[in-house]
């Protein structure tokens, strides 16, 4: 068999690092620690590891096998497996397009925070002053300086999704820059991407190690770590574990198929699949350790500030000497003063806060809230904050860019496989056009209501549709293409048949799990009624829950439908084409006679 001129990775290490860079993304840093906190550390790790072995690993193995065997992007690969199910490949590409459009906005935010870290005092440390220079801006006082910097100065968020405001110049510039960086990395194709991933895959680990060392030495870090490992019993942990594994490994988007298509035919992807999946989960756990030490530090800091505030309030109201009240005996003092001077105490009773370390730790945050608000709050209280800030947001940037490279590859690889497009366009032009298109559409996320649209895309574009795609994938390979045929293909590639464990998980366990998740998602949606979102109220200085207006719900529906409908649509079109061909054949055969 003659080797065709398909570009390939310079060495297998680049392929592994590309997969790691793609799979290890922001979800490992901002979703996994949240889930750990919700379900109580130890209580979540067990379902997570079980799901990894039973669901994540087999599916990862499957996608790599398909890509490496078919040597084409997702559209070509699935069409080759079965012409009726070529729609799966197209659905993957559609989901990847949605993903690339909204994901790069996160990189724009990372850039924004990095650029703003080059200042004497970080801009989110203090509230800005109102015009008469005597008080702080009310919105900032009601919430906090970090909230204010995120919602007002970065996003300039409007109060609801209907109120779209204009494009924010700062955000737009950062988004354009992010797209230019992505274009720079994918411009020359896989060869250039192979070199970039050496950096994007390893830099985040360097930062995490530095942060772990620093975090462990912060005051109060142990409180956070202790909290992480206290389990809470929760049946929903299993469902969250299953969905987290699926989305964290980036299955169903076509990126893994695209990456694997550039491998040599005999590349030992079995070992690589196991290695990458383990690295991905290991990174999630590692990132949780870092996040929880930071949580512990922040919670302890807030708790001690609360105690100091109460102490000050008491000595000011009752005119006691400064060091008379020790913060350890605060509760005793409060009861004593309440009993001795009830009238005076009544005047300040509304200001008395119950300082509780556990409630500080209980505030579980995920997503952009964790990354941009909680972390920046912790950073502002660390010494040398500018350095820590730059390190942390650069890490976020590298994680985001690494995932973006995979997403863009999932779109470009199938398009480059098409002979029509390659004949008419140079690869740089094709890549450039895709990046330009996604950038222009992505500008809509830089408007004042952009963050609400971002949440819609984040929650709906690549969740339910991916479950559907992965389910169709696994059923196609096991039952339509045939497990025996698939086994033979793998034997040709790596020299031995897959172990019976893989066969069982592919044919029985994983489809069963995914169908279960599917049913759960649908039931959840039906039970919860109209979907809601968190809108920022500038007068109250906090988020309020609002329902999505009809046009937003239509967009949600479209996001789900446009990707999933490709599968039946293509099946139908292929069926009609085949019928037409059959009719032509029978006409021709009658003519010959």
């Amino acid at each position: 068999m003659v080797e065709d001129s398909r570009p390939s990775w310079e060495n297998p290490m680049q392929f592994v690092l590309a997969c790691v860079s793609y799979a290890v993304g922001l979800g490992n840093v901002w979703r996994f620690p949240y889930l750990c906190q919700m379900h109580g550390g130890g209580g979540f790790l067990i379902p997570y590891l079980i799901m990894l072995v039973v669901e994540g690993l087999p599916l990862f193995y499957l996608e790599l096998a398909i890509g490496q065997h078919m040597r084409q992007g997702s559209i070509g690969a699935w069409s080759a497996i079965n012409p009726y199910l070529g729609g799966v490949g197209i659905a993957s590409v559609v989901v990847s397009i949605f993903l690339t459009i909204y994901y790069n906005v996160i990189n724009a935010w990372s850039f924004w925070y990095i650029f703003h870290s080059f200042q004497g005092t970080l801009p989110w440390v203090e509230c800005p002053l109102s015009s008469n220079l005597t008080t702080y801006v009310p919105e900032c006082e009601k919430s906090s300086s970090t909230d204010y910097f995120w919602y007002r100065e970065t996003l300039n968020i409007s109060s609801s999704i209907e109120d779209h405001g204009g494009i924010q110049m700062g955000q737009a510039l950062c988004l354009v820059l992010s797209w230019m960086v992505v274009y720079l990395c994918v411009l020359r194709g896989t060869e250039a991407t192979g070199k970039v991933v050496y950096f994007t895959a390893t830099f985040p680990y360097l930062v995490m190690i530095i942060y772990l060392i620093r975090g462990a030495t912060l005051h109060g870090a142990l409180n956070g770590l202790k909290y992480m490992f206290t389990p809470k019993v929760d049946p929903k942990a299993w469902i969250d574990a299953a969905t987290q594994i699926l989305f964290s490994l980036g299955l169903g988007c076509g990126s893994l198929i695209a990456f694997a298509s550039y491998n040599h035919h005999n590349n030992n992807f079995e070992k690589q699949a196991i290695v990458v999946s383990l690295i991905n989960s290991g990174t999630s756990i590692f990132a949780s350790l870092v996040t929880f030490s930071i949580y512990g530090f922040k919670a302890t800091f807030n708790y001690e500030s609360c105690l100091d505030r109460m102490q000050l309030l008491l000595i000011n109201t009752f005119d006691l000497t400064e060091d008379s009240i020790k913060t350890d005996h605060l509760d005793d003092w409060i009861s004593h003063l309440n009993a001795s001077f009830p009238d005076k105490f009544a005047t300040i009773s509304s200001q008395i806060e119950g300082c509780d370390l556990k409630s500080e730790l209980d505030t579980a945050v995920e997503g952009t809230g964790l990354a941009f608000i909680v972390y920046s709050e912790a950073i502002k209280n660390m010494g040398l904050s500018q350095l820590w800030s730059v390190l942390y947001f650069s890490m976020l940037l590298m994680l985001g860019i690494g995932s973006m490279l995979g997403n863009v590859a999932a779109i470009i690889t199938p398009l480059r496989d098409s002979a029509f497009l390659t004949r008419h366009f140079q690869k740089e032009t094709l890549t450039g056009m895709i990046c330009l298109f996604c950038c222009l559409v992505g500008l809509s996320f830089t408007t004042r209501s952009g963050n609400y649209w971002f949440s819609i895309f984040n929650d709906y574009a690549a969740t339910f549709s991916l479950l559907f795609i992965v389910l169709i994938e696994i059923i196609t390979v096991c039952y339509v293409y045939g497990l025996k045929k698939f086994e033979k293909d793998i034997e040709l590639m790596i020299g031995h048949r897959p172990h019976w464990y893989w066969k069982i998980t592919w044919s029985v366990i994983s489809p069963f799990l995914i169908i279960g998740l599917f049913i759960f998602f649908i039931a959840d949606y039906i039970m919860n009624g109209t979907p809601t979102y968190q809108a920022w109220d500038s007068d109250l200085g906090k988020t309020v829950t609002k329902e999505y207006p009809p046009f937003a719900q239509v967009v949600i529906g479209l996001l789900l439908v446009t990707s999933m409908i490709c599968v039946p649509l293509v099946a139908l079109i292929t069926f009609i084409k085949k019928k037409k061909e059959q009719a032509k054949e029978s006409k021709r055969s009658t003519k010959v006679c």
Binding site: N268, V275, E322, D323
Partner: protein, 221 residues
């Protein structure tokens, strides 16, 4: 006569005390947090420190009004607590029974706040005049926001990179096209002779991919 003078003298402090009332209309409460501000270097609050306070306040009044008639005796202090907080009033130097109104005192303090703070090695937060908010220092605004400068640098580097890659790719392709053209010319010359024997001579031989093996059957990780 002497008795009347004595009576009058004893009435003065009584009057002074009567003028200085906590929660009075023109009275201000002051709160000092010396231990918080100075820690180990904290000084004792005593009569002399009190004297300094009254003198500083008299100075502030002098500066604000421009009248040099204000004296330490114009400032009356009462209700001292171990917190180190007390109330004070400022009497009119021309008529010691009337008080300077509240906003006058406030403006005077605002004007010389820095001087008053430094006299006691304290800050706006640790020397509090209850009711007079501290004037907060506005953050320095550079002419061009710093972030734009960093953005410009990064954007420049990325643009240069993109242009470099595009141009080098373009040049590479042009070179490849040229070498292909040369090879084609060579091929044509050989073909024109029409003798297949010479085609084998002219080229290095055909590489049959079916017999080429990869270095390893299984590529190592």
């Amino acid at each position: 006569m002497l008795a009347r003078v004595l009576l009058a003298l004893s009435l003065v402090p009584a009057l002074a005390l009567a003028l200085c009332q906590p929660d009075g209309q023109d009275a201000y409460k002051v709160r000092l947090s010396i231990k918080t501000a100075l820690g180990a270097n904290a000084y004792e609050w005593n009569e002399s420190e009190q004297f300094l306070f009254r003198a500083t306040l008299a100075f502030a009044m002098r500066k604000y009004t421009g009248q040099e008639t204000f004296n330490v005796s114009s400032v009356i202090v009462c209700n001292e607590t171990p917190r180190v907080s007390f109330w004070f009033v400022v009497t009119n130097p021309n008529d010691t029974t009337t008080l300077i109104p509240k906003n006058g005192v406030e403006e005077a303090i605002r004007l010389s706040r820095n001087r008053i703070n430094s006299a006691f090695l304290l800050s706006d937060k640790t020397l509090q005049f209850v009711g007079i908010p501290p004037t907060l220092a506005p953050p320095s605004q550079p002419s061009l926001p710093v972030w734009l400068i960093v953005f410009g640098v990064v954007m420049g580097i990325v643009t240069a990179g993109i242009l470099a890659l595009i141009i080098s790719g373009f040049i590479q392709r042009k070179k490849k096209e040229k070498t292909i053209e040369d090879e084609e010319e060579k091929q044509e010359r050989i073909m024109e002779n029409g003798i297949s024997f010479e085609t084998l001579e002219g080229k290095d031989g055909v590489n049959n991919g079916a017999y080429s093996h990869d270095e390893d059957r299984l590529t190592q990780l």
